[in-house]
């Protein structure tokens, strides 16, 4: 038998392995756009939903004010540390607003604003960052996972939760947030792969703000865009202008809808910029130029929306003032409430380590109790 006689020989010859692992060929549709998707300032803005946009605007203004207030609280010693999202408010707000009541948000350590925009009391959202216990709220009540300090580790959680909900027949989508730096972690890879294999109803939102602390994206990846990473998992990748709240909301809404209707996970890369330093403790001048920051100031998410809405008559001076007033009220309340020292009970150290305290913990608790009593007495 010669090669020519082999069954099916020729350019397309291949034995017929079970379809389960035959290479698929529908690659191209997975490729993200080469340019970030935009709405504001483009013809697509004609279709804006005025109601939604007014809500976004109010939240953006409030979010900006929240960021300023939180940073001020670090200076007053009321917060141990604060990673600001000034410049990234469009992503934070869109992520919060796009979810239905029953959906879950998985924030990264930076995303207190998204949690607040979702309705969480800001004092609760900031519990960790003021040096109090880690999670100042019941994650199940708010369907907001604890802020994740270890980068990217929240992503597999989101996948598992979404998968579990689907197994139980519940209509729940999980939206997981991560930074550009976080995409380099193994957990990012494993989470996206699990999500795609399980077709779990998850949306991954990468906020590409250009830096992981001081490390610029060029040292983080050589990918054309982070959205291109979707290709390798067999999930769609979308690239969006992260300072354009209308665009981010639309892209996320599509992805959430896709997840909700059984279409599986989506990877969304939102291109944005962190205007403040990494945290109040960081010195951003060490790794970036003022010019770069100034260029991004021209592309401010709050101003972009304000201009568009004003130009289109969706927003007027009164609306702007109202938003600002509401933001000031929130900030004043936050300032005041954060000025009260939280009262922590040292004996709580031994609570919630296990469902039931072990003998060893009871002994250690007794020791601390005695120390505290002795201190109190003298």
């Amino acid at each position: 038998m010669t090669v020519q006689e082999l069954p099916g020989a020729g350019a397309s010859y291949r034995p017929t392995p079970p379809p389960s692992w035959r290479p698929r060929t529908e690659a191209a549709p997975l490729l993200p756009d080469a340019e970030p998707y935009r709405v504001l300032g483009t013809p697509a803005a004609d279709k804006l939903d005025p109601e939604l946009m007014r809500r976004c605007y109010a939240e953006l203004v409030r979010g900006r004010r929240y960021n300023a207030q939180a940073t001020a609280l670090t200076r007053q010693g009321r917060l141990a540390v604060y990673p600001s999202t000034v410049g990234q408010e469009a992503c934070e707000i869109a992520a919060a607003l796009v979810l239905a009541e029953q959906d879950w948000l998985f924030p990264s350590y930076r995303d207190t604003l998204a949690a607040v925009a979702r309705g969480l009391d800001p004092v609760q959202a900031l519990t960790l960052l003021r040096g109090d216990w880690h999670t100042g709220y019941d994650p199940r009540e708010h369907r907001i996972a604890p802020l994740s300090t270890p980068l990217a580790t929240q992503l597999p959680h989101a996948v598992g939760l979404a998968h579990a909900a689907r197994l139980r027949g519940d209509d729940v989508v999980a939206l997981a947030m991560v930074g550009d730096g976080g995409t380099s972690e193994g957990d990012f890879h494993e989470a996206l792969n699990f999500a795609a294999v399980w077709q779990a109803p998850v949306v991954f939102l990468v906020q590409n703000n250009g830096f992981a602390i001081s490390v610029p994206l060029a040292k983080q990846t050589a990918a054309p865009t982070l959205a291109h990473k979707g290709v390798g998992y067999g999930m769609p990748g979308r690239l969006v202008d992260g300072n354009d709240v209308a665009a981010v909301h639309e892209v996320l809404a599509e992805a959430v809808h896709r997840a909700r209707t059984g279409g599986g996970p989506t990877l969304v890369e939102a291109i944005t910029y962190r205007m403040d330093a990494h945290t109040n403790a960081d010195d951003a001048t060490r790794y970036r130029d003022d010019d770069e920051v100034a260029a991004w100031k021209e592309h401010d998410p709050v101003e972009l929306l304000e201009r568009e809405l004003t130009a289109r008559g969706i927003l007027d001076e009164a609306g702007i003032e109202a938003a600002k007033d509401a933001a000031e009220t929130m900030a004043a309340a936050l300032r005041e409430r954060m000025n009260a020292d939280p009262v922590l009970d040292p004996m709580d150290l031994f609570a919630h380590v296990y469902a039931e305290q072990t003998g060893r913990l009871r002994e250690q608790a007794a020791m601390l109790r005695a120390e505290l009593d002795a201190e109190a007495q003298g």
Binding site: E141, G160, V197, T358
Partner: protein
């Protein structure tokens, strides 16, 4: 209730039966890991579960341990009770960050709002001729991590009972399965399983008066054999099976050592910084004036796990245990 007629006789079968019974009783119990579905696991512990309960409840995952445990965290957040299989001891290491930074702390960091009832099954230890990375005794890492329970059976009955208790626990449990006892047998009748012992109770497996051997998992049979052999030397050794390293049942151990006045801790894990150090230190704290001699340890050497051809020299054996008992200052 399940209708499977096979009568479990080995520890492997008892573990499988425990999984099956737990899944049958509680629809939130989900088994997941590499090869646990179609294949039934490389040790066949999960054999038949996918068939009986469907692939959605016994799931072959992609090959990624951090992903497996991380996904299990999310599932537990939603109210499921995942039972995760790590294929071998050393292959649990990629999941370490998820284990330490999340699994062990989630209850604590949410002030009790979000406990994670995850059972992590890890076949561990040597003695089966496994090549490199297949024979680690990794319990020291788990023991040093607050928020985890660490449980390990040494008998067929305990394998069933402790696994049921672990799955039922509202806390995360690292469930260490002694590989070389998988094929140990017992007359145990699976249809009338003994009452499930709670997690955290040690058991005196053999009463004695001269000294106490404290051990767990794969070293229990070795200690019992040593205790028999010791009778020739005139020593009547008590043998305590810890069954759970966290919580550590100090009271049972302390009561025994106060009775006998001498103690040797035996385990396969490396000695330096191993669980035996904690046990010895704690016994000394609580039994100081009852001790006739320092608490000694017989453990794996402080070396990476050796090749199969040399492992017998590394593992605590009867002779080494007896030699150590002999060093308990009997002449004093």
């Amino acid at each position: 209730m399940t209708t499977v007629a096979v009568k479990p006789a080995t520890m492997a079968q008892a573990l499988g039966r425990a999984l099956r019974d737990a899944m049958a009783e509680d629809p939130t119990v989900h088994v997941m890991g590499e090869d646990v579905g179609t294949l039934g696991g490389v040790f066949r512990i999960t054999d038949g579960l996918a068939k009986e309960f469907g692939e959605e409840r016994c799931t072959d995952t992609p090959l990624a341990e951090a992903g497996i445990l991380g996904a299990a965290v999310g599932m537990a957040m939603y109210g499921l009770r995942p039972v995760v299989e790590m294929q071998f001891d050393a292959f649990a290491y990629p999941a370490f960050e998820q284990l330490i930074s999340h699994v062990s702390r989630m209850r604590n960091r949410t002030r009790g709002a979000m406990p994670l009832p995850i059972t992590i099954r890890v076949p561990y230890g040597g003695g089966i001729g496994g090549v490199e990375h297949h024979s680690d005794s990794s319990e020291a890492y788990y023991v040093a991590t607050p928020g985890l329970h660490v449980v390990t059976p040494a008998t067929v009955e305990d394998a069933y009972g402790l696994l049921r208790a672990s799955i039922a626990s509202d806390d995360p449990v690292v469930f260490l399965e002694p590989k070389r006892l998988y094929w140990s047998k017992s007359e145990w009748n699976p249809d009338t399983p003994a009452a499930v012992p709670g997690i955290g109770k040690a058991l005196v497996r053999r009463a004695g008066t001269s000294a106490t051997l404290i051990t767990y998992g794969p070293s229990l049979p070795v200690c019992l054999e040593a205790a028999e052999a010791a009778r020739e030397e005139g020593w009547d050794l008590e043998v305590v099976d810890l069954r759970s390293l966290v919580p550590f049942d100090e009271d049972t151990v302390v009561a025994s050592v106060r009775r006998t006045g001498r103690a040797v801790v035996v385990h396969e894990a490396n000695g330096f910084g191993g669980p035996g150090a904690e046990i010895a230190a704690r016994i000394t704290e609580r039994c100081f004036h009852h001790l006739e001699a320092p608490v000694l340890r017989v453990t794996g050497f402080d070396i990476p796990y050796p090749p199969p051809m040399l492992e017998k020299h590394h593992l605590p054996g009867v002779d080494r245990i007896l030699d150590t008992v002999a060093r308990l200052q009997w002449e004093n």
